[in-house]
């Protein structure tokens, strides 16, 4: 069932928050450079699956392997280091540090890995150019539009050259035109950088930018590749 050669594989994930079961025997796999959409109704456990895959949350049961390494066997510090260097993140909103300028926000993950400030900001500016928002580099997040802010977030998720980008409803707060543009830029940039994208969304048109989708219902996942 799990394709060989996957970059990130999860099996038998279970996670409960108090009385609510968020994941109940969920599985997942993704290849290098692949974009997989995770769909499903609200509260189905999509976000929890993403948090588990990214090592933000530890599942109650099940295994997650990234590039042959078992995530749940790692310490918090190791997983943080992994997130810094191998993963990128985009959320719906509230992710840009309001007091930093856009270019500083993009440079942030680089600085976390110890890159010198000047160097980090030069590379950040390059990414802002690729995402066509270099004009807002010196502005603060409060001064740019929602679409621009999300593109800054995309730039930030890719700046470290991650192998997996986790995007949780990246267009959730945008209108369809801006949303489409963000998705186009994200998938193109990810493809050219050979980064895999785990895309949590409830919008089919956003999911259509993926190569493949899985559906999460009541904490269980279903790979739609095998539905047909």
């Amino acid at each position: 069932m799990i394709p060989a050669g996957s970059l990130l594989v999860a099996e038998g994930l279970r996670k409960t928050y108090g009385p609510t079961t968020a994941l109940d025997d969920a599985g997942f796999s993704i290849h290098a450079g692949e974009t997989v959409a995770v769909m499903g109704p609200s509260g189905s456990g999509k976000s929890t699956l993403l948090h588990c895959l990214a090592g933000i949350v530890t599942p109650d049961a099940g295994t997650i392997h990234f590039d042959g390494r078992e995530l749940s066997a790692m310490s918090d510090a190791e997983r943080s280091a992994l997130r810094r260097s191998e993963f990128g993140f985009i959320f719906q909103f509230g992710q840009l540090v309001p007091e930093l300028t856009c270019v500083e926000n993009v440079a942030l993950p680089l600085r976390l890995t110890g890159t010198k400030r000047k160097d980090a900001e030069r590379r950040a500016l390059g990414w802002l150019e690729r995402l066509e928002v270099d004009d807002v580099a010196a502005k603060r997040p409060g001064e740019v539009s929602g679409g621009q802010g999300q593109r800054v977030a995309v730039a930030r998720s890719l700046v470290t050259g991650p192998r997996v980008v986790f995007a949780d409803e990246p267009t959730g707060a945008l209108d369809s035109l801006n949303g489409e543009r963000v998705m186009q830029l994200l998938t193109e940039a990810a493809r050219s950088a050979n980064a895999a994208v785990v895309l949590v969304t409830h919008e089919a048109r956003v999911a259509a930018y993926s190569d493949r989708e899985i559906v999460v219902r009541d904490g269980r996942s279903r790979d739609m590749e095998h539905a047909v």
């Binding site: 919008e203 048109r205 259509a208 930018y209």
Partner: protein
């Protein structure tokens, strides 16, 4: 769409040969399926009969058809009327899918599976359209978007039905 009205509309900018008309149509609207020559001529002769176009001239030559068509006053009025009248929104009340789902429930087949298969199929189509949109020009994008929005609507219906299968099963089997 009404091919007759579309061709008529193309003639409004000036008289054209049948061949020109076909080419203009293909270029602008016929992305998926080019018009058949025969279709053009039969449509033109019907329009001719109704007095909406007239023959502007016949060129000498050895081709099969060298007629040049021009739009008449009545034709222009007709195009105007067509453009002005809204398309009837389609309610899709009796869709094939619905029939299939109900039948599956009645016969004890897995309706959820059926819906998921359909869902995967829809998304595959949407993915193809998105890919085309990515490579195409503005016209491509607009046309693909139209289709995508429709498919998305279907997909929402599929999701909703999946969520309500239990309810539906009760109602159908009652």
């Amino acid at each position: 769409m009404s091919i007759g009205h579309t061709l008529l509309g193309l003639l409004e900018s000036g008289p054209r040969h049948g061949y020109d008309l076909k080419r203009a149509f293909d270029e602008k609207f016929g992305h998926d399926k080019p018009l058949h020559y025969g279709q053009v001529y039969s449509t033109m002769s019907r329009l001719l009969k109704n007095g909406l176009v007239e023959v502007d001239g016949i060129e000498a030559g050895d081709g099969p058809e060298r007629k040049r068509y021009a739009i008449t006053e009545a034709g222009i009025t007709d195009v105007g009327r067509w453009l002005a009248s809204p398309e009837k929104p389609e309610p899709y009340l009796t869709s094939t899918l619905y029939t299939k789902v109900v039948l599956a429930l009645l016969t004890g087949r897995d309706a959820g599976d059926l819906l998921d298969v359909q869902r995967a199929e829809h998304l595959r189509m949407m993915r193809a359209l998105t890919e085309r949109k990515r490579k195409g020009d503005l016209a491509d994008q607009l046309i693909c978007d139209h289709a995508l929005f429709h498919l998305e609507a279907d997909l929402r219906w599929l999701e909703l039905t999946t969520a309500r299968l239990g309810q539906l099963a009760k109602a159908v089997n009652a």
